[in-house]
């Protein structure tokens, strides 16, 4: 206000001096703009990656669906793309994916939730500081190693309990996959629980509630959407997990919901084809992209759901 009022009284020469110096700054400004553009390109590159994924999967799947009607893909109950009598029923692979994921989640969700509640509401500072890095290490073990563990350690133990259990089975792979997912579920759920304001806990303790009552009746309901998003991340991990299943569950397509049988999943089928020697452009080559597209759509759905839930729980406080 005062600047504009006094501006007309300034001698013209001063105004010119300022504009000279501004023009010197302009080169600096150009450099800044270039740097900003380069950095923006790096950030935008991630969008390009997503587009490339969608493009590659859709393009190859398109060729696939020119040969195989979508109805066959969705409703056929056999998956024998490499046989002479080829069938392309994705439900066969889906059944393996769903069965192994269900086994994994039966392990990971209860244990992950209990660990999260324990670490956030019961454990002292020391226990938490030691336990959390350990859980992180658990999540950092390569999945091929988990696969080896399932095949050579857990399956023989399970076979002592159920002598009929085949050497490759969805149960053993699913159980180990569950342990692998525990850290994800536990650490995200714990984050959500710790985000619950202390005032709510104090309100509960002030009424004479115990730790467990406070944890179950106040903290858990307040953190619901965050915990739900942790579960969804767990589901998405289970659905996309590859090597444990490729190693320990066998790779024969099998329409079953019985975890004690061997089975192929979407992911392990892709591995099986990639290990073989299918020519680029053949229909067998295209099947893995159609399977991959199915997988991408499933995980995309879970990711967006999880993202939406997380956003909702951030808005609460």
């Amino acid at each position: 206000m005062s600047a504009s009022a006094s501006a007309p009284t300034l001698p013209a020469s001063i105004g010119q001096g300022i504009s000279d110096r501004l023009s010197k700054k302009a080169s600096r400004h150009v450099k800044e703009r270039i740097i900003e553009t380069v950095l923006f390109a790096a950030a935008a590159f991630s969008v390009f990656v997503t587009l490339a994924i969608v493009y590659v999967l859709v393009k190859e799947s398109w060729s696939f669906f020119e040969h195989v009607p979508l109805t066959d893909f969705l409703f056929d109950t056999q998956w024998t793309p490499l046989f002479d009598d080829a069938h392309y029923g994705i439900v066969v692979l889906l059944s393996g994916t769903l069965t192994s994921s269900a086994v994994a989640l039966v392990v990971a969700i209860p244990l992950g939730t209990i660990i999260a509640l324990y670490l956030s509401e019961f454990a002292g500072f020391k226990v938490r500081e030691i336990a959390k890095p350990f859980l992180e290490l658990l999540g950092g073990v390569p999945t091929i190693v988990y696969g080896y563990f399932a095949l050579t350690f857990l399956t023989p133990i399970l076979q002592k309990i159920y002598p009929d259990l085949p050497g490759f089975n969805l149960l053993s792979a699913g159980l180990v996959m569950g342990v692998m997912i525990i850290p994800y579920v536990a650490s995200l759920s714990e984050d959500a629980m710790r985000a619950v304001p202390m005032a709510l806990r104090e309100g509960s303790y002030a009424m004479g509630a115990t730790r467990l009552q406070t944890a179950l009746w106040v903290v858990t309901p307040a953190a619901t959407s965050g915990i739900a998003s942790a579960y969804i991340l767990g589901i998405s991990r289970a659905v996309g997990e590859t090597m444990i299943l490729a190693v320990a569950a066998g790779m024969q397509p099998n329409l079953t919901f019985n975890p004690t049988e061997p089975g192929a999943t979407i992911t392990s089928y892709i591995v099986q084809v990639a290990l073989g020697d299918l020519p680029h452009g053949s229909i067998g080559y295209q099947t893995i992209f159609a399977a991959g597209l199915t997988l991408l759509l499933m995980t995309l759905f879970f990711n967006l759901l999880g993202h939406w839930l997380r956003k909702r729980f951030r808005e609460v406080y």
Binding site: I35, A44, V47, V56, L57, I115, L137, Y148, Q213
Partner: protein, 308 residues
């Protein structure tokens, strides 16, 4: 005023409630133990099986049809070369993207799309990246089943990890530091170069190590691009050939990596190869554990030392 009987009733209720508290505490410790014990059993089992197999020859021999002669030379050399490509491409890209999102990005729909997209990329299964690489790097760009294809694939895979780590360590720098730098007349880039990057470098390094540890153990995307498993030769040492073309011929070489070698041995029926798999697995777990442990230690040091 409360009667004595009332008080006794209250005490009985409290005693019961506390018993549940204790029960849940034990349940919590038990669950934690299941997780941790699985890890210990896995590690010990693999050590018992594999450690006796570890010898100088194991590290300096190529794979072989005979289990006793087979080694992991081509696998660990391949892993190092692939990681080199991954780090060289993912780190600059990821850090640049992280810096842009924290320091430059305006609040608009483009930024929103980039952010949602990055969190979505982090959730895409690794095998899908393998399919992308198969279609794009191997066939469309014609890189073939090479170290370059594998390194770039893993770079895309860990890009979100590095971006998120960069953003978090930048966010930990107080706003006052920004303001102090701007108040001295620094431009945004000068602020980033002289203050933000140096102060956040330890945090970024932590994220890079965690990302690389993940990349080292990734098997599925590498199998998907069709990496060979039986490699009985080494690529040229990097940057050793005649310039200019010879400098980079190593990146187009066929290769194998540790997890692929382990997968290959695991899928053999013979028990001797299972021992090799355990030995390779032990080396692999040791590598990832060491890297994760280093990252955890770095982060711990960081939290202890920095006082804003």
């Amino acid at each position: 005023m409360l009667q004595a009987t009332d008080l006794n009733a209250i005490r009985a209720i409290i005693t019961r409630a506390k018993r549940w508290d204790l029960f849940f505490s034990l349940l919590g410790i038990l669950s934690l133990m299941i997780g941790i014990l699985t890890f210990v059993v896995l590690f010990v089992d693999m050590a018992i099986q594999g450690v006796p197999r570890l010898s100088y020859e194991f590290f300096t021999s190529f794979p072989s049809r005979r289990a006793a002669n087979a080694g992991i030379l081509s696998a660990w050399v391949g892993t190092i070369l692939v990681m080199l490509v991954t780090a060289l491409s993912a780190v600059p890209l990821g850090v640049a993207a992280g810096v842009y999102l924290e320091e430059y990005a305006p609040k608009n729909w483009i930024t929103d799309i980039i952010e949602i997209n990055i969190s979505n990329l982090a959730g895409i299964p690794s095998i899908v990246y393998g399919l992308l690489a198969l279609g794009l790097f191997v066939y469309y760009f014609g890189f073939g089943q090479s170290i370059l294809s594998a390194g770039l694939t893993l770079a895309l895979l860990i890009l979100p990890v590095i971006i998120v780590a960069t953003r978090e360590s930048i966010r930990a720098i107080p706003q006052a530091i920004h303001e102090a730098s701007f108040a001295c007349g620094a431009t945004t880039w000068q602020t980033v170069r002289d203050h933000i990057l140096p102060y956040s470098s330890a945090g970024i390094l932590t994220g890079v190590i965690i990302g690389m540890a993940r990349a080292i153990g990734e098997t599925a995307p590498i199998i998907t691009i069709g990496a060979l498993t039986f490699i009985a030769f080494l690529p040229n040492a990097p940057f050793s050939g005649d310039p200019p073309a010879g400098l980079f011929d190593w990146i187009f070489a066929p290769f194998t990596v540790m997890p692929i070698q382990m997968f290959n041995w695991t899928s053999r029926p013979e028990a001797e190869f299972q021992v090799n798999a355990a030995a390779a697995g032990f080396v692999l777990v040791f590598m990832t554990l060491a890297m994760n442990g280093l990252a955890i230690w770095l982060r711990y040091r960081l939290r202890k030392n920095i006082k804003w």
